[in-house]
């Protein structure tokens, strides 16, 4: 068996959840969307930039003086003539939500749940998720993009930095995998 578990069914659906697509089929779909982004707008897909825009917007709401004096957040606030959330990646991520929700509903996989291995408590899993998110933010900002913005997009464009980045993601992941196995198996 290549995948060791099937997604759990949605409550109330009365049907088991559909299995995931063949990875090559999903990959071709993803690749065609990426290609369409290149052809239509001349840029790839991404995600982490949307988080930066959202954070910049929120900080600007709470403490405008602080946000506008912060060198990093400034870049996401723009010149003040347009709303900080009116950014390409924010709208793209909104679409990701809609698309994933639709696919999840259609397959009977959308449900309130925590994804974790059998040996870890929910509280610890959520703590790890939070910590992982913080690490991810640092990694993505240092690398100027995340798995979608750098690895996927830059990978297809044969970008030097993207390939170096992608290799290191796998190196970093495999090097700590053994120490984190209690969380997943």
């Amino acid at each position: 068996m290549s995948s060791d578990y099937r997604p759990a069914a949605m409550p109330g659906s009365g049907r088991p959840a559909s299995p995931y697509w063949n990875p090559y089929l999903a990959g071709i779909g993803l690749g065609l969307v990426l290609l369409a982004a290149f052809v239509l707008v001349g840029r790839g897909l991404g995600a982490s930039g949307a988080f930066s825009s959202t954070v910049a917007w929120l900080v600007n709401l709470v403490a405008p003086a602080h946000a506008q004096s912060n060198e990093y957040l400034q870049g996401y606030l723009g010149d003040g003539t347009t709303h900080p959330l009116k950014a390409w990646l924010v709208f793209e991520v909104l679409g990701v939500m809609a698309g994933a929700l639709f696919s999840g509903l259609l397959a009977g996989r959308a449900r309130i749940a925590v994804e974790k291995g059998p040996r870890v408590s929910t509280a610890l899993r959520l703590l790890c998720a939070f910590a992982g998110g913080i690490l991810m933010a640092f990694g993505a900002h240092l690398a100027r993009g995340c798995t979608s913005g750098q690895a996927l997009t830059g990978g297809a464009l044969l970008n030097l930095g993207s390939w170096a980045f992608m290799l290191m993601v796998f190196v970093g992941g495999y090097s700590v995998a053994w120490f984190m196995r209690w969380q997943w198996r």
Partner: protein, 195 residues
């Protein structure tokens, strides 16, 4: 002549609408592949399910071939497609940190969005963590700015670095991908039973 946006076929506002439409496709295929689930994603690092590698490389090869052929046909001006500038050392460090974050948290930013949209609480907490991390990063940015911007090599591609023809590099990447797919399937057979 593509990219249409760069040639002025439509304006900024329409590009945002397209961002949403493209994002819908992105999210749909991410969820179809199973990438709304941290367990499916983390399995990549425990070798019993290599879907992350397979999906990612299939997508990269598909888009790369598309870009290459459209470029050769003269329909797509590749110089107008945005390329993130390379800063080798910060990107290597960033990749390592991100890889660790991937295994600890179970997602990357894009997949966490797909997971929270399908109701996963850990995906939501993870996205919240990215927000918190971004906030901290913004505060420490003045001190690490020098490092982040070091090693600047500009917009540079693999064919340029190795001084090889574009087509040859594409061919090599396809070969590596195909070899990788077979290897991944073998690895899944070897480690899959231990699940």
């Amino acid at each position: 002549m593509a990219p249409f946006y760069k040639y002025g076929f439509f304006g900024d506002e329409m590009s945002l609408v397209l961002a949403f439409v493209l994002g819908t496709g992105f999210g749909f295929f991410l969820e179809r592949a199973g990438f709304g689930s941290a367990r499916k994603l983390a399995a990549q690092f425990y070798l019993y399910d290599m879907s992350v590698f397979k999906v990612m490389f299939t997508a990269i090869v598909t888009a790369m071939l598309g870009v290459t052929y459209l470029g050769w046909l003269g329909w797509l001006d590749l110089s107008l497609v945005y390329l993130v500038p390379t800063h080798l050392v910060p990107q290597i460090v960033g990749g390592l940190v991100l890889g660790v974050g991937f295994v600890v948290g179970g997602y990357c930013p894009g997949t966490s969005v797909a997971s929270l949209a399908t109701g996963r609480i850990d995906g939501f907490v993870y996205a919240f963590g990215i927000g918190a991390g971004t906030l901290v990063y913004a505060e420490v940015f003045p001190w690490i700015k020098g490092f982040v911007n070091s090693n600047g090599m500009g917009q540079v591609t693999l064919p340029e670095v190795f001084d090889l023809p574009w087509g040859l590099v594409v061919f090599v990447v396809v070969l590596i991908a195909v070899a990788g797919f077979s290897a991944a399937t073998l690895v899944e057979r070897r480690f899959g039973d231990k699940a």
